[in-house]
Amino acid sequence: MPDIKDPLLVMSGIVKQFPGVRALDGVDLEVLPGEVHCLLGQNGAGKSTLIKTLAGAHQPDAGVIRLGGREVRLTGPVAAIRLGISTIYQELDLVDGLSVADNIFLGHEKARFGFTRTAEAHRAASGLLTRLGHGEIPPATEVGALPPAGKQVVSMARALSHDARLIVMDEPSAALAHDEVDNLFRTVRELTAQGVAVVYISHRLEEIREIGDRVTVLKDGRTVAVGLPADTPTREIVSLMTGRDVEHVFPARRDPGSHEGRAEVLRVEGLTVPGVFEDISFAVREGEIVGLAGLVGSGRSEILEAVYGARKASGKVLVDGKPVRGVSSAVRLGLGLAPEERKAQALLLEESVARNITLGGLARYARLGWLDRGSELADAGRQIDELGIRPADPGRPIRTLSGGNQQKAVLARWLVDRRRLLLLDEPTRGVDVGARADLYAVIRRLADEGIGVLLVSSEIPEVLGLADRVLVIRDGRNVHESDARELDEHRVLDLIMEGSAL
């Protein structure tokens, strides 16, 4: 029984004040050796801030941290690493210009007299990568060239590269597809078997149930529940997190076949980007949500980018019968893309939340190029309420928002003005349960208002639950297309893994 062991880590009364926001307001956390301790909370609850104080990246304004019974001062990342705390941060903390191996051993390079020993580093790196089930990533690859999932794997490998007593994972599964999560869990189990403790942050409650031992729930920077057993009923946990009951997560679909005969918003014919995907053809009707299921790396993002005109591709892309020529024309034709990597592809980090939200539809607020800032701000404010972006301050630099809230802002950009077709790539990445339900509701509502939606998600339940029709992409080919209700999770898994399996 875990509670006999004395705790490895005890954080008590942690307070962290940011200009304008009290991110942590007396948080307690207690982690036992060899357990997987899950940290739950809404977007902006303070999870990342808490683990950053634990990693020495932030200095808490108050509170004590005890490790193995001794009180410790985590003056900086080095201190934390020395004490055997290693961290996988939510925002990928990799150096694009460096190779995979260099990134993994950054700060504790394999070297003698300051001279790096590349061969050894590469050997060790591929060792770690194989252990994570990704032996195929060459250690010499430049990290910048990896898709998000690959980057996530690398930062996990880095965390493993220190022999740590405590590993903190901030939403490691957010960038991972379903099958990769199993993989991650296997690693986690190996670690805990060796007595390593793991602090695990995720917004996917089914994961908690599968891997977690105990759960701590944060709300508005305070601890609302410490060390619950992981099998606490979901409803209970959710209501602890959100302070409300989230009923049926996925909104009701329209009656089957209701889309037959409705006008086609999007028609794609023989779309091909050599080496990434080939001969993709499909259509999206008004009011229809079409989901793309597939493995990470199967090319779904690229398909979206190609449809959006952001990627050179052969084949036809027609919106309301008019061809898409480049992004600007796509936007003019009423398309909107919420891209996969919010930091790299969507956000102006230095700019305010409002300006980030209205960037897509600037023209709406301009008369002869002159901005009507009043209505701009009003629109932004409306979206902030709609999606519950916290803190609800349009003027705040978006980089100071929590990951999930940033993601909401990315979506809000295409909700300010009515689009014909929304392209959503991993729209709920890092968004909490409650907000997720809200997002689903918003998306469905838009669809019912006649907007077409093309959805990419690595969470199969999300695709099945939200989409009307599902396309399964494998190795850049469209291998299956059918009504969502004719599919279940296992069927989809079989479809997307066929061939690649074993």
Binding site: Q17, P19, G20, V21, R22, A23, D25, Q42, G44, A45, G46, K219, D220, G221, T242, G243, R244, Y308, A310, V327, S328, A330, V331, R332, L337, P339, A344, Q345, A346, L347, L348, L349, E350, E351, S352, R355, L359, G360, L362, A363, Y365, A366, G369, W370, L371, R373, D385, E386, G388, R390, P391, A392, D393, G395, R396, P397, R413, D438
Partner: protein
């Protein structure tokens, strides 16, 4: 949605410092530095420094680079850099003062200067956006080419503004309400720049392109077209600056604007604009420029010799920036 939604995080959703007032703070620092310098001036040269004529002098001196600085601010906020401003200005001034051009009278001369500037700017822009050249290299090339062309055109001679075109020189000699016309030109350019940057979609897009070009592209902004416009704008400013310098020196010359790029960039950066783009203000740049102008003015009023001037300049810059940081942090 339902009112059971959680309230904003933390206790104090109180006044949050937004970008805007952070800018204010940043400027507070520069203004402080400026004030200090002026105090020094008042103490060391009570007789001359605060005189109206000296203030006019200061503004007149600032106006040439000032105009260029406005364009440079746009380019740098847009994530680029323009090393060619000095020589483009020279080229514009030379082209506008060739015998041929002068024969058409002052208006054509002015028009010529603006056109030459804008055109060369646009060329740099095209090289950068469509030629995919690094701004630094593209504008460096333009810098060389433009000053070479200026020397060819002028045969390396100082081309005086002909008496019949004195209208140009009048910009500096005739005064309205005690200020030479060129100071008003300067003011107008700054005002226009401020409006363009803060009140129009063009300005907003400039921040977006500089802050995250990929995001801007995916948000439907034609990044490449915008880039061309940015450098064309910078070129236009060089053209205007050429007019100003022609007015002040009564001549066009291939030696005009030598090393202006450094001064302009320095003013922009010290004004708080990030060299990496995406952030910055016109006001900051102008304040930065004034700091530099006042420094030089002080030195000469106090008859410092060059070497001491340089040393002092270095120290003052450091002091100013550190002061700036203090104010920004303590608030």
């Amino acid at each position: 949605m339902n009112d059971t939604r959680t309230p904003p995080v933390g206790k104090l959703p109180a006044p949050v410092r937004t970008l805007r007032d952070r800018g204010g703070l940043r400027h507070l620092g520069l203004v402080g530095a400026l004030v200090l310098l002026c105090l020094v001036g008042l103490v060391t040269r009570p007789d001359t420094f605060a005189t109206s004529s000296n203030l006019v002098t200061l503004l007149a001196l600032a106006s040439t680079i000032g105009v260029i600085t406005v364009g440079m601010t746009f380019v740098i906020i847009g994530g680029g850099i323009d090393l060619s401003v000095g020589s483009v200005m020279a080229l514009a001034s030379v082209w506008a003062t060739t015998v041929a051009t002068q024969s058409y009278g002052p208006w054509v001369m002015a028009l010529c200067a603006l056109l030459v500037g804008t055109a060369t700017g646009a060329v740099s822009g095209l090289l950068i956006s469509y030629g995919k050249m690094v701004p630094f290299i593209a504008t460096l090339a333009m810098m060389a080419a433009a000053s070479g062309l200026a020397q060819r055109l002028s045969d390396r001679r100082t081309q005086l503004v002909a008496p019949e075109n004195d209208a140009i020189v009048a910009l500096s000699t005739t005064r309205v309400l005690g200020l030479p016309i060129l100071v008003y030109i300067f003011a107008a350019v700054v005002a226009a720049g401020w409006v363009l940057l803060n009140r129009t979609t063009f300005g907003r897009r400039t921040y977006a392109v500089g802050g995250n070009a990929e995001a801007a592209r995916l948000a439907g902004i034609d990044v490449r077209k915008h880039t061309v416009l940015l450098y064309a704008l910078s070129g236009l400013c060089c053209g205007i600056a050429a007019l100003v310098i022609m007015a002040r020196t009564t001549a066009g010359s291939s030696t005009h604007g030598y090393l202006y790029e450094l001064d302009a960039i320095a003013a922009v950066i010290i004004g708080g604009t990030l060299l990496t783009g995406g952030r910055g203000t016109i006001i900051g740049s102008i304040l930065g420029l004034l700091v530099f102008t006042v420094i030089t003015n002080l030195f000469i009023l106090n008859g410092l010799d060059t070497s001491d001037q340089l040393i002092a300049k270095g120290l003052i810059i450091v002091a100013a920036v550190l002061l700036q940081q203090r104010t920004a942090n303590t608030s």
